[in-house]
């Protein structure tokens, strides 16, 4: 029948799928990861950094003495390798993983709630995580193991909050509006509990504030590994739900008439997004705007098909957080600011732009 007519030219932006954008984003992110270790709080020359990276990546085959010609600290070349490979690269990988987790969670939640302003912290996850972290700080639980206990408590707090929403979602009254309102109410409640807690322990508030601002400091590969594992598994599962999310945009009933078990899918997506977000924030604290902004960036450049938006938001989110880290090091050499401050600086104007820009057809409609 020869019905193979191509899509007419002049297709508006935001339409169609442009999967090649994913490849481009991945390549850009790879370059970012490779070159970012050049920046850091300690000055190491770029060529030394790159030599160390290639030396490490090749398992020592390349550049048998990567530090040749560089000003080596007292600890010798091993000390430099530790700075570049262990400190900087682990920090960079964490930025990428956390950003990716927030990005894909944000995309998922915007789809589930059919709301362009949804973000991973919508469900009270941030408040729950903060409360969990505050409990560790205020009650001085296991001071020596705080590196792992604090993330653990934060994760439990975050996921516990998400669980309340999930229970609501499974109930007969679990409409999207109910869930949103439950999240808002829960956030307020948990913030009140947190304020009460800090009132009785003023010394803890500084540390909690630091957590609230989000930071990538004082990390090691173990934490990376945990975050990476959880985000990778949950994020990959999320990415397989692109088609269902596309259909859910037509409303739960229409989606169901097309074969999507709307309620079941919604519960699964909320669960996976909660786990991803909780794992991401457990190690870094609250990092705003990444989850909100990343999916919209993908929609602008690659269309609003969720099969592209979800993996794309992960790549953009990872890149966003990495760029924030790099920029903060360029702007304030020698110090690593809490990264949440930076993302908010960049994210807030973008957020305003989303709100006020023409209601074009290229991204999600008005809420």
């Amino acid at each position: 029948m020869g019905v193979t007519s191509a899509i007419p030219p002049g297709t508006p932006r935001g339409l169609g799928r442009r999967p090649w954008v994913l490849g481009l984003l991945l390549a850009l992110l790879g370059l970012g990861v490779f070159f970012s270790p050049i920046l850091g709080t300690v000055s190491v020359s770029p060529d030394t950094v790159l030599r160390i990276l290639l030396h490490q990546v090749s398992g020592g085959a390349l550049f048998s003495d990567p530090c040749a010609g560089a000003s080596v600290p007292a600890s010798g070349c091993a000390g430099l390798i530790e700075i570049v490979w262990d400190a900087r690269l682990s920090e960079i990988m964490l930025a990428v993983v956390v950003g990716a987790g927030l990005g894909i969670s944000g995309g998922t939640l915007q789809g589930v709630f059919r709301n362009p302003l949804a973000d991973p912290f919508l469900l009270g996850i941030s408040s729950g995580g903060t409360l969990g972290a505050a409990v560790v700080v205020v009650f001085r639980i296991g001071v020596s193991e705080q590196n792992l206990l604090l993330p653990l408590f934060a994760f439990v707090g975050a996921i516990g909050t998400g669980a309340v929403i999930l229970v609501a979602a499974r109930s007969r009254f679990g409409s999207v509006e109910t869930l949103l309102l439950t999240g808002v109410a829960l956030s307020s409640f948990l913030s009140a509990v947190l304020s009460l807690l800090l009132l009785y322990s003023p010394s803890g508030s500084l540390q909690v504030d630091f957590w609230l601002l989000g930071n990538l400091g004082s990390l090691d590969w173990t934490q990376d590994g945990i975050a990476f594992g959880v985000v990778l598994v949950a994020g990959t599962l999320l990415a397989t739900y692109g088609r269902e999310l596309n259909l859910l945009q037509l409303g739960p009933d229409v989606a169901q008439s097309l074969g999507v078990d709307s309620r079941k899918v919604r519960v699964r997506l909320l669960l996976l997004a909660s786990v991803t977000t909780a794992a991401a924030v457990a190690f870094t604290g609250i990092i705003g705007f990444v989850g909100l902004v990343s999916p919209h960036v993908v929609r602008r450049i690659a269309g609003s098909d969720y099969r592209i938006v979800l993996p794309g938001a992960a790549l953009v989110g990872g890149g966003f957080l990495l760029a924030a880290r790099d920029l903060s090091l360029v702007a304030f050499p020698g110090t690593l600011l809490p990264i949440g401050i930076f993302t908010s600086f960049a994210g807030a104007p973008f957020f305003a732009y989303l709100l006020f820009r023409r209601r074009g057809a290229s991204t999600m409609g008005a809420p």
Partner: protein, 433 residues
């Protein structure tokens, strides 16, 4: 002998309640394969609820819903989607998508986990778009097309879903008249070509009569009429179910019945009625006796109805010149069942009845019999007859009926002025809006 799978949709004793309200009451319905059924009824009669029950969106409190022989709720969501497709009244997508992709959403239930759409799926989608006349717009965004085009795209999506049963919920209610005709014509053609069973909620009775093989009428959650359009549509049904007085005509080309709605019955059977004028007041007359009352009432702002009258009667001429609805019998023939039924609808719609001093013979005696039925329900004004004038040609039966009316509470009046005064004195006129 019909096997279970010859029945596309079967409802048995289906009852659905929303809190206190019973949306569907013990509904039985059987739709054979290939039939084009219009589901109609006033707002809130349960049309949408019936469709939602058929789609498995809600679980009935009692009874069963079967799709091609299987209980709908026992099927998985994907299995349901392969058996029944849905075209909602309106769809508000939140993300833009090319029409082609939008139509491809219909393939979801046929694809495996993570399986992408193949060229065959895309070709099917393009064919479906061509079938609804949207092939050239395949690359346009769903948010940028018109309402009519969107409905057609949704129809195309239902087609690629390849479900043997398609349910439509007021698919044309947001479309203008041209797009309504266009859309329903396409639905009918596609149903015929592909043997697809179609059940569509349609509140427009004329469209329903024109496009369906069968009309099922729901009223307050019950099935009150069911059959081919020419059998189902009647003035009596309109008055009873919708509370509307209408003229039933027949399309001279297609033979399909159609209705000219006239005004509301008082009170409307479902929900509060609002009136744009006073009345209607029904005048029973004949031989010129009713004409003065028709004229005076009409002048005073009442809507009037008249009958039953014989063709060529001068009262009929007056009534028609005033735009009144009438019940008409051929000259000299006794009032037949059909005319009597129409008279009954007109009388039931009236807020008051005026019985003019008309000569009564065996052929028009049913007029008085029908008026008697409404005794005590509607104010009846009996115009005083001048003594000495012979008027009863029924051997006393007409006189007896008039006495009965008088004894039963009908008010005797003399002349047009008294009729107007009596009507003004009685709060028979509903509050005008």
């Amino acid at each position: 002998m019909t096997g279970p799978s010859d029945v596309a949709l079967r409802l048995r004793g289906v009852t659905v309640r929303f809190g206190e309200r019973t949306a569907l009451h013990d509904i039985d319905l059987e739709v054979p394969r290939g039939q084009l059924v219009a589901l109609t009824g006033p707002n809130g009669s349960g049309k949408t609820t019936l469709l939602r029950a058929a789609l498995g969106f809600l679980a009935p409190e009692a009874g069963s819903v079967e799709l091609f022989g299987n209980e709908v709720l026992s099927l998985s969501v994907a299995e349901r989607a392969r058996r029944v497709a849905w075209v909602p009244q309106e769809e508000n997508p939140r993300e833009d998508a090319q029409l082609l992709d939008y139509v491809l959403y219909g393939r979801y239930a046929h694809l495996g986990w993570l399986q992408g759409e193949t060229t065959r799926d895309r070709d099917a989608a393009l064919r479906a778009l061509r079938a609804v006349g949207l092939e050239e717009r395949a690359g346009d965004g769903i948010l940028s097309v018109s309402g009519g085009e969107k409905q057609r795209a949704i129809l195309a999506r239902a087609l690629v879903q390849e479900a043997p049963l398609v349910l439509l919920d007021e698919p044309t209610s947001h479309l203008d008249i041209a797009h309504q005709l266009d859309f329903l014509t396409r639905v009918r053609e596609l149903s015929r070509e592909r043997g697809v069973t179609v059940v569509s909620a349609l509140h427009d009775l004329n469209l329903a009569a024109r496009f369906s093989d069968r009309i099922v009428v729901l009223s307050r959650g019950r099935r009150v009429a069911d059959g081919v359009p020419s059998d189902v549509l009647s003035e009596e049904l309109l008055a009873r179910v919708w509370g509307v007085v209408a003229d039933l005509r027949r399309d001279p080309r297609t033979g399909a019945p159609y209705l000219l709605p006239h005004h509301l019955v008082h009170p409307a059977p479902s929900g509060p009625a609002t009136f744009l004028g006073k009345g209607p007041v029904h005048v029973v007359g004949g031989g010129g006796s009713g004409a003065p009352y028709l004229r005076v009432l009409s002048e005073a702002g009442y809507r009037v109805t008249a009958g039953a009258l014989h063709l060529l009667d001068s009262d009929l001429e007056t009534a028609e010149s005033l735009g009144a609805l009438t019940a008409v019998e051929v000259p000299f023939a006794p009032i037949g069942d059909e005319v009597r039924e129409r008279l009954r609808a007109l009388l039931e719609a009236a807020t008051a009845i005026v019985v003019a001093p008309f000569p009564v013979g065996p052929s028009n005696l049913p007029n008085l019999e029908e008026v008697r039925r409404l005794l005590g329900r509607v104010p009846i004004l009996l115009v005083h007859r001048t003594a000495g004038q012979e008027w009863d040609f029924t051997g006393g039966r007409a006189r007896a009926l008039e006495n009965e009316l008088r004894d039963g509470g009908a008010q005797t009046v003399t002349g047009t002025t008294q009729v107007l005064a009596a009507l003004a004195a009685r709060p028979v006129v509903p509050v005008a809006q």
